[in-house]
Subunit: 445 residues, 2 copies
């Protein structure tokens, strides 16, 4: 077999990059667990009937079929057929319905898994990528303070990646569907989704074009169209957006509800992570899925990637014929965020292996003693390997150096820091490396 | 949508069982890293041409195709088509070839990922399951001491699951292909694989039937057939097997090599994990894949599951036309091992959520203060959530109790251990739970 070529859209990390990913995932999981979110994993495959429910996305689904079944001519895709999940929300909704009798509500879970989409690969878009989701799901009802909570947890998690590892800071943009719908209804507009759909194009085509769409296609008056646009241009890092919306003079109960919910998210978000959250009233996030708060998040300096963390409130994530399960959640695009940071060298691992100490050997006959030294170091939590070959010591030091292993152990009681060259007497039952050297860490550019 | 039914062969864990799995995976990963094995993950999909190389397994492969491509009538499976990986060895071999210029050899990696096989589901056999693999791969050569090393690392990892969590102890059975081949060649047999294939049926059909196959189908004399069977029945927990093989009076260089390699594995294994390893000269592990040491592992009391950890030495795991990459490795069937232990209740989690403290609230207006208390506890690493609703305290205690949350916090400075009922004054900047309560742990039956 000749050297295989990479598969476009399926990024794979070398060991050092994987260490960075491991550290990032551990920090995310730790933050989620500190807030009482428990881990679940769902199977990678769901029935096609379940996956295709969202309509638009079906052309990106990967269908999965047993080779044998295929050879026996199963032919057409049918309802029992399976596909790879393209997000973690659809499988989570199915998990909640399937296991609801064994779960306690509100149910708080995080889920870190790969997902697959058959899209054309490009920067920030992959065919296989890792997502890290948190959601809170209630039975029949879910209080609005959970919209505040999930934003705070995610901002805390992303801020930790910033301060601990040097990931760029984020800006989370939040809006509320009730706010927009109430505003449109207050203006006498019936088909609020049709307006939302056109206002969503604001960044792409500009305000004049959107105004044209609203008047021409929906028959709004110029005045009403302009009011819709004025709402969409409101953005603020604090609750001041409420007064600006009020200043537009529209009245509706749903608008009040949306304003109150969005103000609560802003207040808590700004206090948990100052400068990392804004109310941005043009954020829409698709069309028929979310019912209240919606979130998008940009990485400073990487805005061209699009949102690296999105989500929202869905009042009927799942429904089993009797009970409704409303939820709110956010999803971090881990691969989308890490691939460019690793490519640019913004994040790198301090070494390419877990090993802290290489035990050198001067002859194969002493391998057993070297193994004994290594076992004593490992017993105290020090990652250690024994040189693969009794070579010249210079070669063994080079073996360590090429992997970034900081220490080489000689004989029964000598250890050398190969970065400084300092060598010292040491007892394998007592010596400890500096805490920073014990495990590989993330170093900043 | 009505309640979805489970998909046979795709086990999914409830949150408490997932906590057990998380602890087990963390212990495995930690042991592997202490021995200098670094983590990698490979994409879930490989070209069918690559997956089908092993021949026999192809009917179990899941073919994956974009729904859109399918609708446009791609039709027949072709070489560029993709399938889900059915083990972690084939993708690892591809990874080594693809990235060899960026890796350092011997390359030591562990890999914990799901794999998929379209087999008929039954106990111990799933269509989606988790494997934890370690391998060491060399460039052109790989010293025999790595066969010893991987056995020792795996035995240490499995022993840790036994002592820390109460997973039953294991018995690893080891053999060496060179030993059998050398023995057969020493008896003048040319087609050693044909003999191995029939001797492999010993446990299923018994010695007389195997003797019959050897004489009838391969034309061996009764005496030679009996010698082959005598070799296969040798098993010993120490190096004494060497003398017993010698006692059969067969001479061959390859036999000597196999005996020496197997003796080294036994010596190190028995010293690292006494009583957990035996030489068992009937172990074959398939036919044309392994070239030296082969390993199988049974879980005490769960022998009916088959091997929960297998592997071996393969002298040409990968070949790129110029360089050969010999390797040796072992694969733990994590799902196969955990599903029955969880079902029987041998392993269980101390609670179903990460949360250690629930902060109660007496009115929604005090939610902000409760959030403040929770933040101070989390800042010191204590997983904390705030009650979802200002309910009667009895109801809030029940909320904690149903999830196994051990502590409920009242007001600004009172904490109650809801198991004992003991309530005490506490400062949210100083109070610490007992170390055992901080995070959920595995409790034994």
């Amino acid at each position: 077999m000749s050297r295989p070529k990479p598969l476009s859209g399926f990024p794979e990390f070398l060991p050092a990059a994987r260490i960075v990913e491991q550290r990032v995932l551990a920090a995310l999981a730790d933050t989620f667990e500190l807030h009482g979110f428990g881990s679940i994993e769902t199977r990678a495959l769901e029935p096609m009937a379940q996956l295709a429910r969202k309509g638009e996305i079906d052309k990106e689904i990967y269908v999965v079929r047993r080779l044998q079944a295929e050879r026996h001519g199963a032919g057409q895709a049918d309802r029992d057929e399976l596909g790879l999940h393209f997000d973690l929300t659809v499988p989570f909704a199915r998990y909640v319905l399937e296991h609801s009798g064994h779960l306690t509500f509100p149910f708080r879970r995080y889920q870190i898994q790969k997902v697959w989409r058959g899209e054309r690969p490009q920067e920030g878009r992959y065919r296989e990528f890792l997502q890290a989701d948190i959601d809170v799901v209630g039975q029949d009802v879910l209080a609005a303070h959970h919209d505040v909570e999930v934003a705070r947890v995610i901002l805390e998690a992303l801020e930790r990646l910033h301060t601990e590892f040097g990931v760029p800071p984020v800006l989370m943009r939040v809006n509320n569907r009730k706010l927009a719908e109430g505003f449109y209804r207050g203006l006498g507009i019936e088909d609020h989704l049709a307006v939302l759909q056109r206002v969503d194009k604001l960044d792409k085509v500009g305000p004049d074009a959107v105004a044209g769409l609203l008047t021409r296609e929906l028959g709004l008056t110029d005045v009403v169209a302009r009011q819709c646009l004025q709402l969409a241009t409101i953005a603020a890092p604090d609750e001041s957006f409420v007064e600006r919306v009020r200043g537009l003079g529209v009245q509706h109960d749903l608008l009040d509800e949306g304003l109150a919910e969005l103000a609560a998210v802003l207040r808590a978000g700004a206090s948990a992570a100052p400068g990392r959250i804004v109310a941005d009233l043009k954020i829409a996030r698709g069309l028929d899925y979310y019912t209240g708060t919606v979130y998008e998040t940009e990485l400073a300096g990487y805005e061209h990637l699009g949102s690296i963390c999105s989500g929202g409130r869905y009042d009927s994530l799942a429904f089993d014929g009797r009970t409704t399960y409303p939820g709110v959640g956010l999803s971090i695009g881990v691969t989308r965020m890490l691939v460019p940071l690793l490519a640019k060298g913004t994040l790198a691992a301090s070494r390419s292996v877990p090993t802290c100490v290489l035990v050198a050997i001067d002859a194969e006959e002493t391998r057993d003693e070297a193994d004994g030294i290594a076992a004593r170091l490992r017993a105290r939590g020090i990652p250690t390997e024994v040189a693969p070959k009794a070579d010249r010591f210079g070669k063994q030091i080079r073996y360590a150096d090429r992997r970034g292993i900081p220490f080489v152990w000689f004989g029964s009681n000598e250890v050398k820091d190969i970065r400084s060259g300092a060598q010292q007497a040491a007892d394998p039952d007592e010596w400890l490396p500096p805490a920073d050297d014990l495990r590989p860490s993330i170093v900043r550019a």
